[in-house]
């Protein structure tokens, strides 16, 4: 039950000036756990522990963990782990279950993955099943596609999502299209995953958000994970899916800690996640921005607003049912994303909402995205390219006037 609590603490660290240190994040999270007596306390922005908002805080936390459609909270207490460990757990369970599941990528084997998602798997499963590839993204992605066509279920790891730009040829032409151009003869059950997004001063080329580039490719599905719970569930679902799935992870979220159920669970690839139900406004977000939104939500709640926060999770296709129900209830939509302004996921989502739910909107859809700027190295500039909680608060206040 501590996820949102951790999340809030985490975003406090994320948004503080320039020091976004993942280790610090972890330490901060741990400290918050040890200092509190119960998990039902919300640390206010001014440091006070507010018991008055406990009821809402309780509601806040209970609903943040799982949506209705997901499995009910575990009967056993579950176990705590970090997001990258959750990914590994999901991966390992699937590899154990099906011998055709294999991993390919740079440094996934002996090195254990640049973010340790595949740590120790090569020792357990061998060098062929956890394959260290040479630095040839286009070709090893194509190789994974060929292997998938002939019966295996490969998972391709891009060391950084940006590197998959080199594999665009294979992802667009082959991964997405071959099922169709072969008249349905060959399936390509491949999972392409990797960390993307703006990190901590990683520079422009390592801070790319590829979801906007891939979203037009017909025949693929895209999902973005944001918590250890949904990371494991989406990983497993993606591996079991017969469709090619691109799983977007975020560099800054790998050290998020959460308690997840012991029993096996798989999430639905096409569904969105209700993070916080509300009445006044629908905030749609995904990946790291979920935490900025939740941070802003804290402030908004204290100001008397009641935002409904939905983590869309499925970037392609959109879960228009969950989103639609929310729009019909609140009549106002704010999209908060880390993608670029031009042609990003938010742009598509705005178009989709306007098309389907225009009658239910009381105000135009507002989309907060990153600036159309190559991510600068300087910490201050980098902070201003992505959406910050204060901007979210301002946008909500304006929308709800």
């Amino acid at each position: 039950m501590a996820v949102v609590f951790q999340g809030i603490g985490a975003t406090a660290a994320l948004t503080s000036a320039t020091s976004v240190d993942s280790k610090k994040l972890y330490i901060l999270s741990r400290r918050l756990v040890s200092e509190t007596k119960s998990t039902f306390m919300v640390v206010r922005s001014d440091g006070r522990l507010n018991s008055g908002s406990n009821r809402r805080a309780q509601k806040l936390i209970t609903n943040a963990v799982a949506t209705k459609a997901d499995s009910s909270p575990a009967t056993k207490p579950g176990h705590e782990l970090l997001l990258f460990e959750a990914l590994r757990e999901g991966l390992e369970e699937e590899m154990e279950r099906d011998a055709r599941v294999c991993v390919m990528g740079e440094d996934v084997g002996h090195y254990g993955g640049s973010y340790k998602v595949t740590k120790d798997l090569a020792n357990k499963y061998g060098d062929l099943r956890v394959l260290d590839t040479p630095i040839a993204e286009n070709s090893f992605t194509g190789m994974a596609i060929g292997a998938a066509m002939t019966g295996l279920r490969p998972i391709v790891e891009g060391m950084n999502m940006g590197f998959l730009l080199l594999a665009f040829n294979q992802i667009s032409n082959n991964c997405g299209m071959l099922h169709y151009t072969s008249g349905g003869q060959f399936t390509i059950p491949v999972v392409i995953r990797g960390p993307g997004g703006v990190g901590r001063q990683l520079g422009a080329e390592h801070s790319q958000r590829l979801e906007s580039y891939f979203q037009s490719i017909p025949g693929i599905q895209m999902v973005a994970c944001s918590t250890p719970y949904n990371a494991k569930g989406l990983m497993k679902a993606a591996i079991r899916s017969e469709n090619p799935v691109i799983l977007f992870e975020h560099v800054l979220l790998y050290n998020l800690k959460e308690r997840i159920p012991d029993e096996e669970y798989i999430l639905n690839l096409e569904e969105a996640e209700m993070v916080r139900p509300g009445e006044h406004i629908t905030i749609l977000t995904y990946s790291r921005m979920r935490y900025h939104v939740m941070q802003a939500a804290k402030t908004l709640v204290n100001k008397g607003y009641d935002p409904e926060v939905i983590d869309i999770r499925s970037l392609k296709p959109f879960d228009l049912h969950t989103i639609g129900n929310s729009v019909k209830k609140t009549h106002r939509v704010l999209i908060v994303e880390e993608c670029m302004r031009t042609g990003g996921i938010g742009a598509s989502l705005t178009a989709a909402i306007n098309e389907y739910f225009h009658d239910y909107l009381d105000a135009p859809v507002v989309c907060l995205s990153s600036q159309d700027v190559p991510t600068p190295y300087a910490g201050t500039l980098e902070e201003w390219t992505v959406v910050q909680p204060t901007q979210i608060v301002t946008a909500v206040e304006q929308l709800c006037r």
Binding site: G146, M149, N173
Partner: protein, 436 residues
């Protein structure tokens, strides 16, 4: 197939001398880099040496090296003709395959100009020896990956002519339900993995298929899995990154794959010599630790001999081979290509080396078959091709309902619609009019 007579040696270390160290009669020595043969379009004179010349053995390129094999080869089961490369049955099979390829492609041209098929159609006339020479040695479980010039590869692998013709006509009875077209011939039943429009795109896919074969043997413990993959591509592709990346990976992991370069000297209007710093493609294999072989791609028997060794090597787990087949396309790059750049004398030179006439001559001269028997085959193939056209003509066009099928293997990938139901459950989805 006995592999004892031919042996492809591993390339020698880089600092070796140029003498031939191997005790075996080398099929070729890739490091002995004195190019003898020359491409007709180059400034070097074409040196023609009689195949039976004793000097042929020492040649570094194997245009004539295969003839060494001819002399060394153990007698075949054909006891009357101990020096022949093929039996009568094999010969007829090869002949039939090549005639099928030729007739089919000629019919394609006719149909194209009659408006039965559209788009980019790339014909294989003149290169049949490569397809027949390699693919006829494969089992059904072996995979073939090709480029846009893939009709004949699909036919050689066993895809019925009527399925290919229907596909070209865009009918629903085509091998890809009309959704692929000329450049995307796929067949799961016959393990034809495409058909790719961008050059070089298929090579990683072929590498993946070979990887699966190795994976099945070593991880899934299917000990008898020795499936081989053939990747066919052209000279233009050999300047593409994917080619080199896959040579590296295939050599690194000793994948059971044969890289077959159909060097027809032209990439649309770009001569191979104008595009490539070192035009001898077979030499690029040893740079990755792969044996590189150059063979006369207009001679199906020579191609077959080299193919036998390369495929057997792959089956034994010894890794990939790079085979460069010098061949030629008699028609333009595609049916839309006016083919103005190529020299008439070059075309005439290769027309004189038509693989079909060469095989016919070989079989008749060696009394493997009579002219009459070969005519019977030609007539049979004529009927097959005509029947294919009739079948394709009379097949239905795809209906609207086919539009949205097959985009996803799991159609839930279209997502959840505003009403809460999966879009694929919408009745309009099956009609092909749903909004997705």
């Amino acid at each position: 197939m006995s592999a004892a007579a031919t042996k492809i040696i591993q390339p020698l270390p880089l600092n070796s001398t140029t003498t031939n160290r191997s005790p075996h009669k080398a099929l070729f020595n890739p490091l002995k880099a004195t190019p003898i043969s020359s491409f007709p379009a180059s400034t070097r004179k074409l040196r023609l040496t009689k195949p039976n010349s004793p000097h042929a053995r020492r040649r570094s390129t194997s245009i004539f090296a295969v003839s060494d094999v001819v002399q060394e080869k153990k007698p075949t089961s054909n006891t009357f003709f101990p020096n022949l490369l093929i039996t009568k049955e094999e010969g007829l099979e090869l002949y039939e395959d090549m005639i099928l390829g030729r007739s089919f492609e000629d019919m394609c041209a006719q149909m194209y100009y009659r408006g039965k098929m559209f788009g980019f159609v790339h014909l294989y006339n003149g290169q049949e020896a490569v397809s027949a020479g390699f693919i006829k040695l494969l089992k059904n479980e072996d995979c073939v990956v090709s480029t846009y010039r893939d009709h004949v590869h699909a036919l050689s692998k066993g895809v019925p002519a009527r399925a290919v013709m229907s596909e070209l006509f865009g009918k629903t009875t085509g091998c890809c339900r009309g959704q692929g077209g000329s450049m995307h011939m796929f067949s799961k039943e016959h393990n034809v993995l495409g058909g790719f429009a961008f050059i070089g795109e298929g090579i990683p896919v072929a590498t993946g298929a070979a990887f699966t074969s190795k994976y099945r043997r070593e991880v899934l413990k299917e000990g008898d899995c020795d499936h081989v993959t053939l990747a066919f591509f052209g000279d233009g592709t050999c300047n593409n990154g994917q080619f080199f990346e896959c040579l590296n990976m295939a050599a690194l992991w000793k994948l059971p794959i044969v890289f077959v370069v159909e060097n027809n000297l032209w990439a649309i209007g770009m001569s191979h010599l104008r595009a490539t710093s070192d035009p001898e493609i077979w030499k690029k294999g040893p740079a990755f630790g792969i044996p590189g072989v150059h063979v006369d791609g207009m001679d199906v028997l020579k191609v077959r001999e080299v193919a036998k060794e390369a495929i057997t090597r792959a089956r034994r787990g010894e890794g990939p081979t790079l085979v460069e087949c010098e061949t030629y396309r008699f028609r333009g790059h595609s049916l839309a290509d006016p083919d103005e750049l190529r020299d008439a004398s070059e075309k005439a030179h290769y027309a004189a080396r038509d693989p079909i006439t060469a095989l016919k001559k070989y079989m008749v001269e060696n009394n493997l078959a009579s002219e009459a028997e070969l005519k019977v085959i030609e007539k049979k193939i004529d009927e097959v091709v005509e029947e294919a056209v009739e079948f394709a003509d009379s097949s239905p066009l795809p209906g609207r309902s086919q539009l949205l099928e097959n985009v996803f293997a799991d159609p839930r990938g279209f997502g959840i619609g505003p009403d809460g139901k999966y879009r694929c459950e919408d009745p309009k989805f099956t009609e092909g009019t749903a909004h997705v």
